[in-house]
C-alpha cells in the first residue's frame, strides 16, 4: 500500500479523477470482449475446475453409497452439509445487501461493487441450494417438498421451519437470479453493440433480449429495479431469519433460542461483506478497476464488516448468557461443552476470528491496508464456517439423553464436499469474470453524470 497519507477527500471519492463515462464503458466491456485471457485467470479457473471435479466425485460417491459416507450418525444427524448450507447462504447475503439495501439508501459507493457482489450471490446461492438436497439421503424424492397433487393425498408440513426454509431458499434463488439478470440487461446490450466477433454478437444479442435503451425501456427498468430492490432487502432478512428458525424450532439444547433469527441475519451480513471484500480487493488490481473501486469502497466495506462483527459479538455474548440466566441444565451442559469441551478449539476460533480480529478495523490505516484487510476477511469467512459447524454439531452432540452423547468426526468425504462446493462457486465466478461485465457500466455512467452536474468530487 502506498505510504502517502490518505486524506479525507481521498476517502470520500467514489470515482477517481479522469475517469469518464466512455472510459469505464470501454474498459469494462473490453475486459470481456477484447482482452486476452490473462494467465492468472487460467490458473485460477484450472484450480477451480479441479475442485469442482472433486465435488462431482464426492457427490457421485454419496449418491452411490448414501449419507453414511459422511461422519453423521445419531444424534448428530446434521453435519457438514447443513453447516455448509448455512455458510453459503449467509455469504450470499452480501450481494443482496449491497445491491438492494444500499440501492434503497441511494449510496453512491454501491454502483461499482454491486455487480461483483450480485454475481457472488448467485453462485453462493447455487452452492447453498445443493446442500440440503444432498443431505436428504433419498435426494431423488426432494420434489416431495413441493405441494403437488399426489396419489397419497399427502401435503408437505407447512408448519415446519424446515419447509419454510425450503420455500425461502427457492424464492431467494429465483429472486437473486432475476435481480442479477435484470440489472445486467443494459450492460449486455452494450456488449452486443461493441462486440466485433460474430459469436459475441450472437451471444450477447440473445442475452440482451433486444434491449434498446429507449426512454420506455429505462422508465420500466427503473420501476422494476426499484421494486426488486425493495423486495430483496426484506427477503434477505427473511431467509436468514428462517434459517435461524430451522434451529430455533428444534428442541435441541443450544438451538432452541429466540435470538437466532437476528443472530443469523447478522452472521450472514458479516460473512457476506467479508466475501465481497475478498473478491473486491484482488479484482480491483487484477482487472485494473482502481479508478472506479476506490479506497472509499474498501473503507466502507471494512466499516460494514466491523459493524456486523459487533452485532454478532453481542449475539455471542447472549448465547452464553441466556442459558446460564435461565438455568436450564442441559443448555448449560452444551454451553460448557462448547467453552471447554471437545469443540472448545472450534468455539474459541469462531470468537477470535469473527469477534476479536475484526476489531482491528477500528483503526483507519489498518482498514485501508488491503493485504491485512483481505486476511481479516478470510479469517471471518473461515470463522463463519466454524460458527455454523459449532452450532450444528455442538447442540446435537450433547442432547437431552446422556446415553446418546456422541462426538462427530468428519470423514474425508465431508471435507471433499466442502472443498468441492468452493470449487463450484469459484468455477462459476471465474466464468462470470470472463463473460459478463463485472462492473455495472450503465450505473457508473449515470453516477459520473450526476457527479459532473453536481460539480462535486
Amino acid at each position: 500500500m502506498s505510504p502517502s497519507p490518505e486524506t479525507r477527500a481521498d476517502l470520500d471519492r467514489v470515482v477517481e479523477p479522469g475517469v469518464t463515462a466512455l472510459s469505464v464503458t470501454v474498459h469494462v466491456s473490453d475486459l470481456v470482449l477484447e482482452r486476452r485471457t490473462p494467465r492468472w485467470w487460467w490458473i485460477g479457473f484450472g484450480l477451480s475446475l479441479g475442485l469442482l471435479g472433486l465435488f462431482v466425485v464426492a457427490l457421485g460417491w454419496l449418491f452411490f453409497r448414501g449419507v453414511g459416507v459422511w461422519g453423521i450418525d445419531w444424534p448428530v444427524a446434521w453435519g457438514f452439509a447443513i453447516g455448509n448450507y448455512v455458510w453459503w447462504v449467509g455469504m450470499a447475503s452480501g450481494g443482496t445487501l449491497i445491491s438492494a439495501l444500499f440501492f434503497l439508501t441511494r449510496s453512491d459507493w454501491r454502483s461499482a461493487t454491486s455487480r461483483i457482489a450480485e454475481t457472488m450471490t448467485v453462485f453462493c446461492v447455487a452452492c447453498a441450494g445443493i446442500m440440503p438436497v444432498i443431505h436428504l439421503g433419498r435426494w431423488w424424492y426432494f420434489y416431495w417438498l413441493f405441494p403437488y397433487p399426489n396419489t397419497m393425498a399427502l401435503w408437505p408440513q407447512f408448519r415446519s421451519p424446515l419447509h419454510w426454509d425450503f420455500v425461502a431458499i427457492l424464492v431467494y434463488v429465483i429472486g437473486s437470479v432475476l435481480f442479477w439478470y435484470v440489472g445486467l440487461l443494459p450492460d449486455l446490450a452494450t456488449l452486443r453493440d461493441r462486440a466485433r466477433r460474430r459469436w459475441q454478437r450472437v451471444l450477447y444479442g440473445l442475452l440482451a433480449l433486444g434491449w434498446q435503451g429507449s426512454s420506455r425501456h429505462w422508465r420500466q427498468f427503473k420501476i422494476l429495479y426499484g421494486l426488486f430492490a425493495a423486495l430483496m432487502a426484506p427477503l434477505v432478512c427473511s431467509i436468514h431469519s428462517i434459517v435461524g428458525l430451522d434451529f430455533a424450532g428444534g428442541l435441541t439444547p443450544g438451538w432452541h433460542e429466540t435470538q437466532f433469527p437476528p443472530y443469523f441475519v447478522f452472521g450472514a451480513a458479516l460473512s457476506g461483506f467479508a466475501v465481497v471484500l475478498m473478491l473486491v480487493i484482488p479484482l480491483r488490481r487484477a482487472l485494473d478497476l482502481t479508478g472506479v473501486i476506490t479506497l472509499r469502497h474498501v473503507d466502507v466495506l471494512a466499516r460494514l464488516l466491523l459493524t456486523a462483527s459487533l452485532l454478532l459479538t453481542y449475539c455471542y455474548l447472549m448465547e452464553v448468557f441466556m442459558p446460564l440466566y435461565r438455568g436450564e441444565e442441559h443448555e448449560i451442559t452444551v454451553v460448557m461443552a462448547e467453552l471447554g469441551g471437545y469443540y472448545a478449539p472450534w468455539y474459541w476460533a469462531k470468537i477470535i476470528l469473527n469477534g476479536v480480529v475484526p476489531q482491528l478495523l477500528w483503526i483507519r490505516p489498518l482498514r485501508l491496508n488491503r493485504p491485512l484487510l483481505f486476511l481479516v476477511a478470510l479469517g471471518v469467512v473461515v470463522g463463519m464456517w466454524i460458527e455454523r459447524y459449532v452450532i450444528v454439531v455442538g447442540g446435537l452432540h450433547r442432547n437431552y439423553t446422556e446415553s446418546s452423547w456422541f462426538v462427530f468426526m468428519p470423514t474425508v468425504w465431508d471435507w471433499a464436499t466442502l472443498a468441492g462446493s468452493v470449487g463450484l462457486f469459484l468455477t462459476g465466478f471465474f466464468l462470470a469474470l470472463r463473460f459478463i461485465p463485472i462492473v455495472s457500466m450503465f450505473e457508473l455512467r449515470e453516477l459520473l453524470h450526476k457527479k459532473k452536474t453536481e460539480g462535486g468530487r
Binding site: 408437505p156 408448519r159 420455500v167 429472486g175 432475476l178 453493440d193 461493441r194 433486444g210 435503451g213 420500466q220
Partner: protein, 183 residues
Amino acid sequence: MTAHRGTGHTFRGTLAAFDSPDAMLEALRRLRQEGFTRLEVYSPHAVEEVDDLLGRKPRALPLIVVAAGVLGAVGGFALQYWGMVLSYPLNIGGRPLNSWPAFSTTTFELAALAILLVGFLAFCAFCRLPRLYDPIFDAPGFEHASQERFLIWIAEREGRDDRDLLQRLLPHGEGVRIDEVPA
C-alpha cells in the same frame, strides 16, 4: 410510410445524436415546442426529465406488481389452509388446524415469488422484450446509444417536409450528428 407496430416510430425519420444529455434535452425541448410528438429518446443511461418532456408516465407496472403480491399472499395462504385444514387435517393434541402464524412465512415468501415473476414478465411485456430485431437497430450510429451518445428519433411526419425545420432546430455541428434514416 408504414407505422411499425409496437415501437412507436416509423421506418422513416431522423436520428439526432448528442454527446451530452443536456444538449439532448435542450433539443428535445425545442422539438416539443415545434409540435413534434412522435419522438423517442435512446440513451446509455436513464435521463431525468425525458419522461416529462415526452409527456409519458409510468404505466401500470407498479399496480400489476401490487396485484401480483396480493394474489400471491392470498393464494399462498389459501394453499396452506387447503392442505392443512380442509384436505388433510391432522389433529395433533387438539392444536388448531388453522395455525396461521406458522403459515405466515410461506405466505410472505409466495407473495414475494409472485411479485418477482409477474414483475419480470410485466416488465418484459411493457418493454416488448425479448425482441431481438427492431428496425431502429439498422439506423446508422444506433450502437452508440448503449455507450456514450444520446439519440433522439424523430419520426417523419406524414405529408410534411421537415428537413429545413429540423436543420434549424438541430444545428449540425459540435456534438450533434443527424442521420436521415431511409425506409
